[in-house]
Subunit: 464 residues, 2 copies
């Protein structure tokens, strides 16, 4: 069932409400339909740029009145088509709702609007002695990170968005505004609605305010890099570091293909072998002790050339390489696009999952670098394809399907941090079976007309 | 609308299914209707002792067929009447489902049945190098702790049940069995059903299996105790310790009244003043460094006689005092019962909330010791009453109401870790307003006939 008015008629009403902050300009629409991954452009009919929760609620009510889809949009950096307007509709761009509303330094929390990006938030927190540790690589918006349950390199120490979102303000599908929690550090008061909206990809409501935990800036930071002969040795090192209760802040694995990409991209001379990047946070003493203990463990597993970086500029150079894996990976095949996918498995199965996936990609002739948040058992593969060749796209999707099936068979998940979006709807059912029916019941209850970011998480026809 | 058959008729059918593991013996029923807090005995009609998930599902289906309430029961240690059979029904006692099903040492997780208690789990983990850190004081069952979103003394370092439950198997109200997640450390696959059932107090389904994070036993542990002239000084010390990024494992506050109780109970000679109990986990070096840093901060806030305990027997003696606050508190008024209540506020407001609550209790003539998980902003008050005097019960409830209102006004929660149960239903609405309607929608969707632990979280008539 489509909307009951034309997009043009709704656009007129929206212009009446917020003036030029409702746009139907072709360029604006196209910009909001694109993806950083391989999905085709699926633009909305209208883009709005609300400035207040009240405006969001009013626009949601207008959309609900006429049956028009509602798609929240942050920085557009998601990877599974999570903001694609599969059925048209109104895209809510939160670029103008990007303020820090409060910094509670004693409580170590901040209240922000959803459009602020993580780098903007980092800049706002400078000089407070606090920082926000979730780093998914891209300069994503906090609203988008909340909606995809993002995590990234520091999750092994600081948790994911699930662990760092304390409370939300949400506009529901009928325009009601709720707050999911107060600002206490913990609560046993009723159902955990906060966690219900974190990771819901905008399919249950529109997030308009987020209370986040922030953390004290560590007194000292040091970083290190170390290569290994096999993926197994690298993974076993990471597992041993964690089992030894070394509170590592980051432990990232790059495979030989990705290391080659980094050498090419950044004109570096790293050994092109499976490599771990470490970062340690703590007091001066603690950081030194952590790094020495990790070095000893790496040596036990045949690690080569454990290289240290304590000075900020040395650390930056080291991590700059890691932070640019997307571009470094793409550089391995100029002109290519990437099918970017992630899975997460129990770490005892990670080496096996990585090795089989590496072999599978190689056997099928794909250039497909791998990078992993190895402390969590989470890894990404960038499958480089020429989008003009349908066979390659199909082959990449088949390779991804085998990778996901392998992860699920190992008691893992079809996505550790990118979300379901458009791309992993079938895999969600493969993974969780009947639990998906429960998710669908909740979706129907909170969004009976199926207007909230339709086509994501669930197959299109499945909800309505 | 009551059940469509008599309890006796259902008991016959249950006996047919599981033999003598269905009981209607008066003593058994009464034992399952009682509470560790001040609630009157509200026994179920039947108690069953299932041994498998399949049995739970079959019994749930029988109950659903005839409209009989379903009440999951662990160790019976909850404090808000969370297992009271307000409308009769079938109590599911999980005493016979108390196994560890798997220990995945490399992955640092375990799979357990809901009836295992935390001390039993601790014993099972001995010799694995791993431990489960959630310690609510009582020897609660893991199923009960999951259902009330328990936390306790080590939450400041290791998180609450919300953070340590990785996946659940749940029997739904119609007997369907679902798994909420795989065993990966993190996932972005669909709605977070795990967190929806954690803290739902059995009102959405019956938990039959729990996958938990476990943690490496720290290499070294040390403990310390330090008294202060005022609650403010003690709280400010705790805040400074946390802001200094000292990864304290426990920081517990006992007020002067509670310290008096402990001296009487354990024949000790502590100063009867606000007192902090600390515990530090880490390497030998790190623990020493943490404790020294905390000592310096305590001294800055006028801390008296920072006393150390490194040897296990000294630590045990020190924490034994803290661990027996319930009995120590009750000992302050022989023959009394306790109205036990908890709230949690942002830590910047904690000193104010504590001081006002202390004054309020004193002014109204109550002996009411206070103990707090101060790193989280969470504290408990034991209001000692003579249950034979209705005025005292009413006065205690009014004191609790003022304490809760104070916490909510400070952006805190009406319960940090005990749950809503019977006792805090109205406060939940005071705290979260319209969000409670969303909780109620979810309840109606998953339990349309209102059979799952009725009368808890929501007022009786509100759901059906």
């Amino acid at each position: 069932m489509g909307p009951r008015v034309s997009a043009a008629a709704l656009a007129d009403r929206l212009t009446g409400l917020i003036g030029p902050r409702a746009s139907v300009a072709r360029g604006v629409l196209d910009q909001h339909g694109q993806s950083e991954s391989h999905y085709r452009n699926l633009p909305p009919d209208i883009v709005v740029f609300p400035e207040t929760t009240q405006e969001v609620a009013e626009i949601v009510k207008l959309c609900a009145d006429v049956g028009m889809p509602i798609i929240p949009f942050g920085a557009g950096t998601s990877l599974e088509g999570n903001t694609a307007a599969v059925a048209g509709g109104v895209c809510f761009d939160f670029a103008r709702m990007n303020k820090v509303l409060a910094v509670h330094a004693s409580d170590m929390d901040v209240v922000v609007q959803p459009g602020i990006t993580r780098k903007q938030l980092g800049a706002e927190l400078r000089n407070t002695g606090l920082f926000f540790p979730i780093d998914p690589g891209a300069d994503a918006s906090i609203g988008g990170m909340t909606s995809t349950r993002a995590s990234g390199t520091m999750a092994v120490r600081y948790g994911t968005m699930k662990d760092n979102v304390m409370a939300l303000e949400v506009v529901l599908a009928d325009g009601r505004v709720i707050r999911t929690a107060q600002r206490a550090r913990k609560s046993a008061a009723g159902y955990d609605l906060t966690r219900m909206f974190v990771g819901a990809e905008g399919t249950l409501g529109v997030i308009t305010e987020i209370t986040l935990k922030v953390h004290p800036v560590p007194q000292a930071i040091s970083a290190a890099v170390c290569s290994f002969d096999t993926l197994h040795d690298a993974v076993d090192t990471a597992i041993s570091v964690i089992q030894a209760a070394i509170p590592v802040a980051r432990v990232e694995l790059l495979d030989d293909v990705m290391m080659r990409g980094i050498n090419v991209y950044a004109k570096l001379g790293y050994r092109e072998a499976p490599t771990l990047f470490f970062e340690f946070h703590g007091s001066e003493t603690s950081v030194a002790e952590q790094a020495e203990a990790a070095q000893a463990i790496a040596a036990d597993h045949g690690g080569h050339g454990f290289a240290w970086a304590k000075a900020p500029e040395d650390r930056s150079r080291l991590w700059h390489a890691r932070d640019n894996t997307l571009y470094a990976g793409l550089g391995l095949r100029p002109g290519a696009r990437a099918v970017i996918t992630d899975v997460c498995v129990p770490i005892s199965r990670l080496a096996e999952c990585l090795t089989e996936t590496r072999r599978d990609a190689d056997e099928h002739g794909f250039t497909a670098p791998i990078v992993g948040h190895v402390g969590d058992g989470n890894f990404h593969m960038l499958i480089l394809i020429d989008p003009a060749l349908p066979d390659e796209t199909e082959g990449a999707k088949a390779l991804q399907a085998r990778m996901v099936a392998r992860a699920i068979a190992m008691d893992g998940t079809c996505t550790g941090e990118h979300g379901i979006g458009l791309g992993k709807i079938d895999y969600l059912t493969d993974e969780l079976g009947g639990a998906v029916d429960v998710m669908r019941s909740i979706k129907r209850t909170l969004d009976p007309n199926g207007l909230m970011n339709p086509g994501k998480i669930f197959a299109d026809g499945a909800v309505a």
